[in-house]
Amino acid sequence: MTATATAAARPAPKTAAPREAIKEPSMVKQKEMIAGNYEKLATAKAMGRKVASTFVPGNLNELIMCFDLVNNLPEINAIQNGLRKKSGQLIVEAEKRGQSEDVCTYVKSDLGMLAKGNIGPDGRPIPSPDVLLLSYTGCFTFMKWFELLREQYKCETVMLHVPYEGEGKVTENMRAYIVKQLREDVIPTLERVSGVKFDIDRLREYLRESARAEEDLVWTLESAKHKPSPIDAYFGGVYYIGPIFTAFRGTPDATEYYRLLRQEVQQRLDAGQGPVTPEGELSKEKYRLVVEGPPNYTSFRDFWKMFYDEGAVVVASTYTKVGGTYDLGFRHDPDHPLESLAEYCLGCYTNRNLPGRIDMIEKYLNEYEADGLLVNSIKSCNSFSAGQLLMLREIERRTGKPAAFIETDLVDPRYFSPANVKNRLESYFQMVEQKRRGAGVAAAAAVH
C-alpha cells in the first residue's frame, strides 16, 4: 500500500547533458542508510542474523530492533523496483503464476521478485525471512500478502491485528487488544525466533530516540506552511519519510538524518528559497496543492516534473502520513512503550475512517493555505482509493477550493499514462487560475 523512496533511487535528469542531481547532506546520509540496510539484508545469513519482514503502516521497528532482527520491508522493495523500472516484468511474472490482474501490484511485484530468485532492487539477494510480522494495519491486502509469502517461505508468521478506527476514535478496548497481542503473541514469537530475550528498557531507549526524530520530521513537514514553501511535501516528502517509516525509526542514524534535514530546510527558509527538485531549486511557487493518495513510482521523476514545470508545489500530502500521523501530535512514548506502539498503529492514516481523513485534508487546505486538492487515485490500493471521489466532493463543498482527480498506479507501469495525467494537471492548473481570477473580480466588485 505505501512506503517511501530513497535518495539513492533518484534517476538522472533527462537532459542532453545529464547533470548530477543536487544532493544535500541529508540525502547523502539517507542513501548511506538505505544501502546499509540492504547490505545487512544481503549478508544477514552469513553473519548469522535473523530477518523479519513487515509493513510500513504499523511498522514496529523499535520492537524488531529489540530482538536484533534485520528489518525487511517488502513494500520498499516493490517501490525500489518500481523506481528502477524493474517492477513491470515482476508483476507480469506473478500474473503468469496465477495472480489476478485486479489485485495490488506491490504484492505482485514482491511475488514476482521471489519467483525470479529474490534478487533485491540493488541486485543483491534478499534473504528468506525468519519471521513474517504481519502488522495488519489499515490495509486488508496485508493479511493476504503475508499468507501468500508464508506459503512460499513456510516460516513463522505472527499476526498483529490492529482494529480499524471505524468510529473515528481510539477506544481502550482497541488499545488493550493490541497490547495483549504484543505481550502474548508478538513478543514471545520474536523471542523464540531470534533467541533474544525481550528487554523493555531497550525498547524504551529506542522509543525515546524515535520521538526525537519525529519532532524534526514534523517541523520539516510543517515548514511548508511558509510562502514560498521550502519543501515539496509529496515528491520531496517521499524522501523525508524514508528513514522514519522504514528500518531506521528509533536509531541515532534517523535522528541525525532529521537533524540534518531540518538544518537544510531552515537554511532554505532563511534564504526564502523554494523546494529542491531533481533539476534544481524551484524558483517560483505558482500553485500550492494538497495531494491525497500515493505517487506513481515507475515514472516518479516524469510525474514530479509535471508539477515543478508548472510551478506547482505540494504543501501537504496524506501519503506521508501512512506510516504515522506525527503531525497530529502523536509521539512514541518511552514511558508507555507497548501502549505507545498500539497508539501508533491505530493512528496510521489509512486506519482512520473516511470522515477523519476528510477532516485532515480540510485542515491541510486551510492551514497550509493551499489552492486546492489533487487526488492521485491508485488502482492497486482500495484502502486509499475507495471513497476518494466522495472525499473530493466533500472537500470542494467544505472549502470552495477546486479539486481534481487523476488515476495511476504505484508500481505497475501499464497504468501510468503520461499524456492523460499531464492533460488533467494542466486543466486543473487552469481551473485554479480561473478560480483566482474569479476571486479577484469578486474582491474588486466588493470594493466598488
Binding site: 485486479d102 495490488c104 486488508f140 501468500l148 495483549k180 497481542q181 477523519g356 484502502s383
Partner: protein
C-alpha cells in the same frame, strides 16, 4: 405448499429493490426499526434482540441501473458498493435506521465512512471482528466490541438489549441455522431435488424475512422438495467458492447448472450459516456469540488462518463432505479477498487432486454463453476423464 409456490415468493422478495416486505414490517408497529447489513457476517441476533429487523443488503443485482453510484467509484473497484450507494441515493433504503458494515475488505470498510457522510441520519457502523482467536485476547476484544454494538443498537431502538432477549434471539437463529444446514445437506444429498437456483433464492429470502418466517419457509421447502419427483441428471457435482460478497446474477447460477453442474456447496450467503453449531444458550450470551465466532464459525478469505497447515482445508473438507468432483472459483471482478485467496486455495486443491476452474463476474454480468461453455467443458472433462 409446493416448491414452486415457495420459490415464487422468494423470487418476489429477491426482485424487490424497494424492500416492500421490510417497509411493511416496519410500518406494522410504531417505533420499529430496520438495520441493514452487508456481507459476510454480522451478529444478527443482537439486531433482533434490540427489536429491529436485520436486513441483508447485497447490492443491486442485474436489475438495477446504476447511475449515481458510478460517480462515487473508480472503474477498478467492484460493483457492490456502487449499486449499494445507488440504492441509498435513490431512496430505496430511506426506511433503514442503521447500517452495519462488516470487516470484509477495504472497500466495504471505507463504505462505512461514506455512509456516515452521505446518510447522516442513519446509524452507520463498522463491525470489526478479531483476527486473533485466543479467548483471552481476540475473544476479550470481541466481547467488548459486541457489548458496544449492543449498547448502540439499544439506543437506536429505544430499549436496552437484555440477556434474556438476546438468548431468545440466539435460540431463534440457532433454529434458523439448523434448517439452513438441513437444506444444504439435502441439496448435497439430492441436488436434482433442490436446484441451486432455488436454494439460492431461498437463502436470499433469509436476508429480508423475519427470522421466524424464514425458518418456517425453510421447513416448508424441505417438506415440499422431499415430496416432489424431479428427474436426476448425470451432472457433475461441484463446489462454488469466492462469491461471498457481491452476488452473481441468478442467471449465472442457472447457467452453471444448465452447463451440467450440480452445485453441492457454495459460499453465497455465509451469514446464514456462519456459526457451524448452535450458539450455547446458557451463560453470558455475548460471550457465547464471541466464543462461537472464534471457535465454531465458517472459514472465508476475510478471516485469517493462523496455521499454515490448515490453510484452505475447509474447501477440501467441503469437497469431501459433499462428494464434490470439482471446484469453481467464481469471484467478482476486483474482489481483493477472493482474488488474493484464490491462488492459495488452488494450490491446496491441486495438492489434494481436486480439479478446478476459475472465472470472474460482476453482479450485472449479462453474457452467460462463455461461462456456460467454460462450466460445461469443466463438467464434461470431469465426467470423461476423472479417475473416479
Amino acid at each position: 405448499m409446493s416448491t414452486s409456490d415457495i420459490v415464487a415468493r422468494c423470487t418476489g422478495l429477491f426482485e424487490d429493490l424497494n424492500f416492500v416486505y421490510a417497509r411493511e414490517w416496519k410500518a406494522a408497529r410504531p417505533g420499529r426499526k430496520v438495520v441493514g447489513y452487508m456481507p459476510f457476517y454480522v451478529p444478527r441476533e443482537l439486531i433482533h434482540a434490540a427489536g429491529a429487523l436485520p436486513m441483508g443488503v447485497l447490492g443491486g443485482g442485474d436489475q438495477l441501473e446504476v447511475i449515481h453510484g458510478d460517480a462515487y467509484y473508480q472503474s477498478y473497484i467492484c460493483r457492490i458498493p456502487r449499486s449499494t450507494v445507488e440504492l441509498g441515493v435513490t431512496g430505496r433504503l430511506d426506511f433503514v435506521d442503521g447500517m452495519l458494515f462488516p470487516s470484509i475488505c477495504d472497500v466495504i470498510r471505507n463504505l462505512s465512512g461514506m455512509w456516515k457522510i452521505m446518510f447522516p441520519k442513519t446509524m452507520a457502523r463498522y463491525v470489526d471482528v478479531p483476527q486473533n482467536f485466543r479467548d483471552d485476547v481476540g475473544g476479550e476484544f470481541y466481547v467488548n466490541e459486541l457489548n458496544e454494538l449492543r449498547k448502540d443498537l439499544g439506543e437506536l431502538c429505544g430499549r436496552p438489549v437484555d440477556d434474556e432477549s438476546l438468548r431468545h434471539s440466539i435460540a431463534l437463529y440457532n433454529e434458523n441455522r439448523r434448517l439452513v444446514r438441513e437444506v444444504y445437506a439435502f441439496r448435497a444429498a439430492a441436488p436434482w431435488k433442490a436446484p441451486s437456483s432455488e436454494v439460492y433464492l431461498l437463502m436470499r429470502a433469509g436476508m429480508v424475512l423475519a427470522v421466524e418466517e424464514h425458518s418456517r419457509m425453510l421447513g416448508e421447502y424441505l417438506e415440499a422438495a422431499l415430496a416432489e419427483n424431479r428427474p436426476r441428471r448425470d451432472n457433475t457435482r461441484i463446489v462454488i467458492t469466492g462469491a461471498f460478497c457481491e452476488q452473481p446474477p441468478l442467471s449465472l447460477i442457472k447457467s452453471v447448472e444448465l452447463a451440467g453442474c450440480y452445485i453441492v456447496d457454495d459460499d453465497f450467503m455465509l451469514v446464514n450459516r456462519w456459526e457451524k453449531a448452535n450458539v450455547p444458550l446458557e451463560g453470558d450470551p455475548i460471550r457465547n456469540l464471541a466464543c462461537t465466532y472464534l471457535h465454531g464459525s465458517m472459514s472465508t478469505s476475510a478471516k485469517y488462518e493462523p496455521d499454515l497447515s490448515k490453510k484452505g482445508l475447509y474447501l477440501v473438507d467441503s469437497v469431501r463432505r459433499n462428494r464434490a468432483e470439482g471446484v469453481i472459483f467464481m469471484a467478482p471482478s476486483f474482489c481483493d479477498p477472493a482474488l488474493l485467496e484464490r491462488p492459495m486455495l488452488q494450490n491446496v486443491l491441486a495438492a489434494h487432486g481436486v480439479p478446478f476452474i476459475a472465472f470472474k463476474y460482476a453482479e450485472n454480468s449479462g453474457q452467460m454463453a462463455p461461462i456456460r461453455e467454460q462450466a460445461g467443458t469443466f463438467a464434461d472433462s470431469i465426467k470423461l476423464w476423472s479417475e473416479a
